[in-house]
Amino acid sequence: MKLLDEAIEFTSQPGVGAPVWRGHAEDGIELHAFAAAVRRADGRMAAIWGEDRRPHGAGFRLHCVFGLNEGHAWVSLDLPAANPVYPDLADVFSAANRMQRATRDMVGIATAGGDQRPWLRHGAWPADWYPLRHDAGPGEGFPNAPSDYDFVRVGGEGAHEIPVGPIHAGIIEPGHFRFSVIGEKVLRLEQRLGYQHKGVERRFIGMDVAQGARLVGRISGDSTCAYAWAYAVAVESAAGIEVPQRALALRALMLERERIANHLGDLGALGNDAALAFGLTQFMRLKEDWLRMSDRLFGHRFMMDRIVPGGVTTDLDAAALAEMVEQCDTIGRDVKELRAIYDEHPGLQDRFLTTGAIDADLARELSLSGMGARATGMLLDGRAWRQGYEPPAPYKALGVRPITDDRGDVAARVAVRFGEIFESLRLLRALAVGLPTGPVRVDCAPTAGSGLGVVEGWRGEVLVGVELGADGRIARCHPHDPSWQAWPALEHAVMKDIVPDFPLINKSFNLSYTGADL
């Protein structure tokens, strides 16, 4: 089949995950034309990664995933071993910029022109050494040389820079922010990330699928369920395995618990960043209650390693489900009370309203997904029906209501979080009542194949692409965090606001460093 009247021929990926179509571009021109068509149709750049296929007697392969209204288009492009260069897609999708630079750092396939600054490579390995090439060797023993980074400079009278990080003032992940300011006003923010880069993609190579499941659950601890589910979908699709309905429902149950846990924590922290310590204390208490329940239900506070290829490892009995639903009612009442307090607190609203605003046009331009996009009014939620899009099981039977708010500011991101907590509580009750009977796991012993999993995590769209070798082991695995697209949105959101508002704006997005640094 064809998508968007373009030349590339697509076939539908088998399996029960979110809809994915796979196609192969003949050359870079065809790929670039398809990207432009996606952009015209208000689609998104979802992920980019590279693969070394020289052991198969071929060259390199570039993988691009585009988000369309109907689902995801996964396009590959083969590049010659001698000169692996492809057209720069950043002129169509600015979100491609950092992903392309990371692909060059990791695999050594580059764009013709465009931004050539390194992204993940700081100074720990040489520029002509690529960790994901099969002949790269272990790569240990390189001198860890400090590197300079070519930040964009802002000139003019009174303009100066504030460098922040990599170690930040709170209990948070490392990254570097370079503010250009006049007085208190932020003229520009440029991020330099990659400090969390620990070679995850390289570690995947050669792992069996069970080991891979443990690693993928530790890419971003706050999204362990989303990653584990997306990975499981990819492996199951590659292996042609059908997962029992009860397992799918339990996966959704865990994903919604993860969403609520993170939203509770963020709502507390957002109150705290606006000097309402009461909010932090109250929400941290609710979050602790929530995590303790997850521990009782699944044996782990964050439910790590519970979603695996083939199903889930833990089943819930009727008593456990009843206990869970009871807590949903209590927490729902508490959150409702706290929302009223937040809504009516003048000091808090003064800090939230109009702060860190972005609009839907910008969100589309940056290929933003998830909560941040919905807080600009975009009806984009992989769990919910929309014209032409059918959500994956079990969500298609649940009728998820996507929560939106078109203000685009901190207040909107707070409101969307509140709304999503109530909606997820409703989903948890519906899942508990209608949990299908039957097994929760089937055997998963895959052979060669590939697949892509897409899951709507609490932050946004989590993608995992997997390629399995003939021995059933992982030949390549690329996890993609929604933070890739959202970090540049933060750069825009902070412009024209003042430096002291940055922590609040940053928290309102609460992006992952480790998810995008890998």
Binding site: H122, A124, W125, P131, P138, G139, E140, F142, N144, P146, P166, I167, A169, G170, I171, I172, E173, P174, G194, Y195, Q196, H197, K198, G199, R202, R203, Q211, R214, L215, R218, I219, S220, G221, D222, T224, G265, F278, T281, Q282, M284, R285, K287, E288, L291, R301, F302, M304, E337, L338, A340, I341, E344, H345, S512, Y513, T514
Partner: protein, 172 residues
């Protein structure tokens, strides 16, 4: 304001007794606070450094400040600068890109200082430790980069385990 006060009143004090050790938690708490005062003459201050974690450990370190564990109420607080800290609470594995920053933070922390390595990745043990050993981009465990006094394994370690680890370091 009234709904807030009402809520505070109804919530009450949730702080739980400290784990392990003496028979009565109150005695244990007194002993700990005495020890901190005796050794440091003031509150114990901690600088947390994420040197490359998946942020799972950070979630549990955050939880230490919730009203159940009430770390600050026990005379232990997190500070923004290593220059103000008695203890570095470090999560890992230490990435090559963070190696230098971690060394600088360590050097900036005044002597005598304590270093607590947090999590299986930071301690180089368990399943996660195995998954995150040294490679081209990672130095592996924290002790490969700076000296470590106490290890708190777990993936991630629970808030109780973290509390015990911090107390163990103070008692050394």
């Amino acid at each position: 304001m009234i709904p807030m006060l009402k809520r505070i009143f109804r919530t009450g004090i949730l702080t739980e007794p400290l784990p392990e050790g003496a028979a009565t938690p109150a005695a244990e708490l007194d002993r700990l606070q005495d020890e901190i005062v005796r050794i440091l003459g003031r509150a114990l201050t901690i600088r947390e450094v994420d040197a490359g974690s998946c942020n799972g450990c950070e979630l549990e370190i955050h939880a230490l400040n919730n009203p159940y564990y009430n770390l600050e109420g026990r005379g232990i607080k997190f500070v923004a600068s290593p220059r103000h800290a008695d203890m570095l609470l470090v999560t890992g594995p230490v990435t090559k890109n963070m190696e230098n920053a971690l060394r600088i933070a360590y050097d900036c922390t005044p002597d005598p200082k304590l270093v607590v390595a947090v999590g299986d990745c930071g301690c180089g043990c368990g399943v996660a430790g195995e998954l995150s050993g040294p490679n081209y981009a990672s130095c592996g465990a924290i002790e490969n980069v700076v000296p470590v006094d106490v290890r708190v394994p777990g993936c991630p370690p629970t808030p109780l385990a973290l509390l015990q680890g911090i107390l163990a370091a103070v008692r050394r």
